[in-house]
Symmetry: C2
Subunit: 344 residues, 2 copies
């Protein structure tokens, strides 16, 4: 397998999380090679502190970078003054073919801009999208939501393309052959919602290339009614963030209820654990940037060591399945079908 | 105090909930008068079954209606074929001055259309909005979100007007003199979000008529950072529904965790109770339709007897504070300030 480039300076904890997580990933995948991009002395120091199998180091390559992109930087900063940053150089590893994918926990907007600049969009794809994992605790499975913030608004055709891309990724991640695709909307009735959503619904209905299941409302998000849920980046970002807000409020409440009566504290720990394991959207790490000619996986900024390795795992799966090529094929065939239908 | 009209046929449970709830409201408010609009024989039957103080009936008036609007009806149905429905006649009580407000648990779209048709918009207000209550459990208070579904998209000026209307209502409901108003957005940085949100932000910053606190992200929704949160109807509807979806998923998880170990079941009941009391957005009943020349309070369709009386309580508060007049004044003075600023 080819190498994966890691932007080790990204995220709230930087190398102290990303370097140990990278070693864990090497341990787990005997054919994996990693290129750690970041401040070389800092990385070497952490590597020395890490106990464990020294043989793993032979599958590590260090790429020194002079600067890093912070969360407060405007996205455009990375192209204007930070081409020597760990983020830029990690994505550039994919552009140059030295790595098959890149994983970063850094500034999402900057990562997206760097990806578009260095890797370019796939032919036919009009806008990139970020796909996030949504837990379906009752069924012990996941569904996937896109876009969660690559763009603000999208028209009907862009939403339709998000559905095609999402179905490819979900089939590749989960093995479900024909994922069910729904449109996130404010009502199930066909007249509800925006013009963009109605346009997208018509494209899904006509295409036949997907199992389209119609409109899904916000309160059915965690019900598993669809495998892929499509919306624009504003709606998607608001949805995952407000869901995380509710989970946080529930956690606070559990602490309050447990504190009021010591007998109850025996339940608080397993319950908080179950919530963290099964519901907290922040746990579901590894959001892919879709629509680019290359694989970029965005980890949450606050990912811990375990969560960051999940993001690396996701990159590995996408490399093995060659997701960008699958997306390009799906887009090409969907457009062929549409133009055939129009000619008939 | 003038009367309040109740659409008794609306909601999932109709008169079996709305009639007993109306009697509870009469009990609680000795100067309240209610006009129950609905199927007279049905209402009389339920009134006979209700035990309690018969003197309350003297403050009840029955208004017979021939039909009712169902949740499956398209909103326009109420104007085309159902002008003899309980919903239409209840709103018409406000138009004719027989009632000072109307409460309905019926079809939201139909109620909004009937309100706009019979009561008309307040001068200067471009679009109506529905305001919902959001719990802030850590601070044991509420914040208020609008619009949660009266319109799909809104431009910057409409969002600004939602902020003005929301501040008036929240001051009137809570006694907070100068509620803090925020814009729900996908990032706190000023460049994040849509053009509409940036336009609204500029209007809030310039106006000086409000305590504007900037952008609030979805994960801070339940944190109490603002008293009034402004967004378009698509975002607001999605936010409250997906929040309700998370709460439901957590409730299911609590049942699962409790079932796995009988010792834990002692905590499950108080915890589920705390969640229902403090977090579940569905509990916070009584969403007002703002921007009309009259008071309409929309109860959740699935409101129980207690929840429906909260909606009546909200209507009483708005009548006492004369909310539509306060909104009209606030809008007029905001526009005066803006045009003065422009002339300077």
């Amino acid at each position: 397998m080819s190498a994966i480039a890691i932007d080790v300076m990204g995220g709230d904890f930087g190398p102290s999380v990303t370097v140990p997580a990278s070693l864990d990933a090497l341990q787990r995948h005997p054919d994996l090679q990693l290129h750690l991009v970041g401040d070389r002395p800092h990385i070497e120091e952490i590597l020395q502190d890490c106990a464990g199998d020294r043989a793993l180091l032979q599958r590590l390559e260090l790429v020194h970078s002079e600067s890093c992109v912070s969360d407060d930087d405007r996205p455009v900063t990375v192209l204007r003054g930070k081409r020597n940053s760990s983020m830029y150089l990690a994505v550039d590893q994919v552009r140059s073919g030295k790595a098959a994918a890149c994983v970063s926990a850094g500034n999402t907007g900057a990562l997206l801009l760097t990806g578009r600049h260095l890797l370019r969009m796939l032919p036919g794809i009009r806008k990139p999208a970020i796909i996030a994992t949504i837990p379906v605790p009752a069924l012990d499975r996941n569904c996937y939501l896109l876009d969660v913030g690559a763009t603000v608004h999208s028209d009907g055709e862009q939403l339709f393309q998000f559905g095609l891309m999402g179905a490819v990724v979900v089939a590749s991640l989960t093995g479900r052959k024909c994922p069910r695709v729904g449109l996130l909307n404010i009502g199930a009735e066909e007249y509800k919602g925006s013009r963009e959503i109605h346009d997208a619904a018509r494209l899904f209905e006509r295409s036949g290339a997907l199992e389209y299941v119609g409109f899904i409302e916000g309160d059915r998000l965690f019900s598993g009614d669809a495998d892929v849920l499509v919306c624009d980046g504003f709606a998607g970002n608001l949805t995952i963030k407000s869901s995380a807000g509710v989970v946080h409020a529930v956690e606070q409440l559990i602490h309050q209820v447990a504190a009021a009566d010591p007998d109850r504290s025996s339940m608080a720990a397993p319950l908080l654990d179950a919530i963290r394991q099964k519901i907290n959207p922040a746990r579901f790490n590894g959001a892919s940037l879709l629509g680019l000619q290359g694989i970029i996986v965005k980890s949450h900024g606050n990912a811990d060591r375990e969560a960051f390795t999940w993001a690396i795992d996701q990159a590995i799966k996408e490399v093995r399945n060659n997701v960008p090529v699958l997306i390009a094929d799906r887009i090409a065939s969907a457009f062929q079908t549409t133009s055939q239908t129009n000619q008939e």
